[in-house]
C-alpha cells in the first residue's frame, strides 16, 4: 500500500493538529510490526538469501555423491540419501538470522529511534525471530523438495514432512539467539560474522556423515553431548522409522536445551542494550 501524503500547502499553513495521540500498541502488535519490517527486507537482500539456499543444496548433492557407494556398502541398511537430508536441512537453517541487520540498525541510530517509541522491548527481538523462523522454514522447503526428487520418502507422510520442517525451523530459531546476543552485546558486524564459527562444532562434531556406531570413540563421545545428534536422530526418524516418540522427544529436548541457553544470552544482551546506561 502506498501512503497518500498531502502535498505542501501552497499557503504554507500547517493543518491544525488533530486530537490523535500516541498510545501503547501492545505486545502482539509490536511483534507483528517488527516482524513485518524484517520480512519486507528479506527479498531486498538476495545476497544474504542465495548463499543460505545454495550451500545446503550443494552439500546435499556432494555428500550423497561422495558417501553413497562407500557408506551403503560398509553399513548394511544405511540409506545415505535419507541420512543426508536432515544434515542438509540443518545446514540450511543454522545461523540464518537478522543479527547483521540489527547491528546496522544500532550503527545507523535506527535502533535508538525504535527505543524512543513505546514499543515493548522484547518485541524488538521477538519480531526479528518471527522473521527468522519464517525464512528458515522457507529455506527448508527447496532442500526437502530436492530430497523427494532424489527418492527420499517419509515414513510419517505429509504430516511428518510438516513436523520435519517445523523441528528444523525451531532449531534454526534456537541457534539465532547466539548471533543476536553477540550483535546486541558488541554492536560490531565483524563479531556477528564470527558467530558463524559456532556452526562448525554443532554441525560436524555429530552424526553428520556417519551413524554413531561408525564414529571413532572420541568423536562418538563428543557427539553424545552434541544436541544436534539428537536433533538429527529425530529428523531421521521421521523419514525411516515412522512415528518414534522417544526420538522426537529427545530432538525437541535438544532444541529446547540450546534455546534456553541462547535465548537467555540474547535477551540479557537486549536488556543491557536497552537499559538507560
Amino acid at each position: 500500500m502506498t501512503a497518500r501524503i498531502a502535498p505542501a500547502d501552497p499557503d504554507g499553513v500547517v493543518v491544525p493538529s488533530s486530537t490523535i495521540r500516541a498510545s501503547r500498541a501492545g505486545f502482539a502488535r509490536d511483534v507483528v510490526s517488527v516482524a513485518g519490517r524484517a520480512i519486507r527486507a528479506l527479498p531486498r537482500e538476495p545476497e544474504a538469501i542465495i548463499p543460505a539456499l545454495m550451500v545446503p543444496l550443494f552439500f546435499f548433492v556432494v555428500n550423497i555423491g561422495s558417501l553413497q557407494e562407500l557408506g551403503e556398502q560398509a553399513i548394511p541398511g544405511l540409506d545415505v540419501k535419507a541420512f543426508q537430508l536432515p544434515v542438509a536441512i540443518i545446514f540450511a537453517v543454522t545461523g540464518v538470522s537478522r543479527a547483521a541487520a540489527l547491528v546496522t540498525d544500532i550503527q545507523d541510530g535506527y535502533f535508538d529511534r525504535l527505543l524512543l517509541t513505546p514499543i515493548t522491548r522484547p518485541a524488538l527481538l521477538l519480531g526479528l525471530m518471527v522473521a527468522d523462523f519464517t525464512l528458515v522454514c522457507a529455506l527448508s522447503i527447496p532442500v526437502l523438495v530436492l530430497g523427494l526428487l532424489v527418492g527420499v520418502s517419509f515414513g510419517t507422510g505429509v504430516i511428518g514432512m510438516v513436523v520435519f520442517v517445523l523441528l528444523a525451523g525451531s532449531w534454526g530459531l534456537a541457534f539465532t539467539g547466539f548471533p543476536y546476543a553477540i550483535a546486541l552485546k558488541t554492536g560490531n558486524p565483524a563479531a556477528v560474522n564470527s558467530s558463524f564459527i559456532l556452526f562448525f562444532p554443532f554441525a560436524f562434531l555429530t552424526t553428520a556423515f556417519l551413524p554413531r556406531e561408525a564414529l571413532t570413540s572420541w568423536l562418538d563421545t563428543i557427539a553424545g553431548y552434541n544436541p544436534v545428534t539428537y536433533l538429527l536422530d529425530g529428523l531421521r526418524s521421521l523419514l525411516s522409522d515412522g512415528w518414534d516418540g522417544e526420538a522426537l522427544l529427545k530432538a525437541v529436548g535438544a532444541v529446547l536445551g540450546v534455546a534456553t541457553i541462547s535465548m537467555t544470552l540474547c535477551f540479557r544482551a537486549l536488556q543491557g542494550r536497552v537499559a538507560q546506561r
Partner: protein, 325 residues
Amino acid sequence: MDAAIVARGIERHFDDTKAVDGVDLDIPSGEIYGFLGPNGAGKSTMVRVLCTLLAPTGGSATVAGHDVATEPGAVRLQIGVALQEAALDPSQTGAELLRLQARLYGLDKADAQTRFEELGSIIDLGDALDRRIKEYSGGMKRRLDLAAALVHNPRILFLDEPTTGLDPVSRATVWEEIRRLNTDLGMTIFLTTQYLEEADELADRVGIISEGKLVAEDSPDALKRAVGNDVIIVRVDGDPGPARAVLADLDGVVGVDVHGDELTVSAADGAAVISPVAVALSGCAVDVRELTLRTPTLDDVFLELTGNRIQVDQDSSPDPAEEAS
C-alpha cells in the same frame, strides 16, 4: 503555564568525564528553548537524558510531568525526537518507515493516514516517499526524520542540531517548519544547536552550555544586552597586548578582552567610540587587519561567559553520549 520540562541538578558521567554537570531547567509548555554550545559541550547528552535514552547519573528530570528515570514509557508517549544524525533505515521506503512508526505509536490505519495528511507540508517528498531511503538526499532524510518524530502528534519535540550539515536553503526551510510547529500547534520545542544565528532566530529563551554546565539562560536579546550595547572587533597581526591598555583608557569604552589575535572592545555607544579606537590603535605598535563595529551576538555572550568563542566544526568530537551509544 504548565511546565513541559523540569530538570534539577542533572548530571551524567561517562567514566571520569562529566558530560552534563548539574544542569537545572524550567521550560514552560509552548516555548522554543535553544540549548546552545559548541561540539562536545554536553548538548546531545542532555537530550538523551531527557528523551529516556540515558539515565542521569545524578539529579532528576520530568518531561510532560513524568520522571525520565522512573516513568520512561510515559515520557516516550509525549515526546518526538529527531536526533543529530537522521535515524532512518535506508532499506525501507519513506512510506514504510512512517507507517511502521505510526503502528509502534498505536495509531490505526485511519489515524496514521490523517497524520500523514497533516504532516504533508513537512514531509513534502512527493513520489520519493515510495523510494528507498538510501536514495534520499541529506535534506530529504532530515525532513523524513522530522516527520517520523511528529507522526504521533507529540506534545514536546526534541531536535538535536536539526540543521547541522544542511545547506542554507534547507536550513531556512527547517527553521520555518519549527516556527510553524510552535506557533500553529503550540508544541514545546527543545532545540540544541551550535549555530548562534539559529538560537537567535528561533528560541524564546536560550540556555548556554559549556563543559557540561549551564552558564547562562535568558532570552537572546536579554543575553546580548547583558554583554553591552555595541562591540568593536579589532583583529591585528602580532601581539594585541600593547593595545589593550590604551583602548581600555578611552572614554566610552566599557571593557576590552583579548582572545588570540582579536581584541573585543565593549562600548555603550559604538559609533561614538570607533573613531577614537582607530586613532588610538594607530598610535600603538600593532598592525590592524580588521576593525568592525556591530551589535553583540550570542557568540559575544559565550565569549564573555567562557572566555572562548563557539567554534562551529562539523567534524569535531561529539558528545560522550554519541560515542558511547
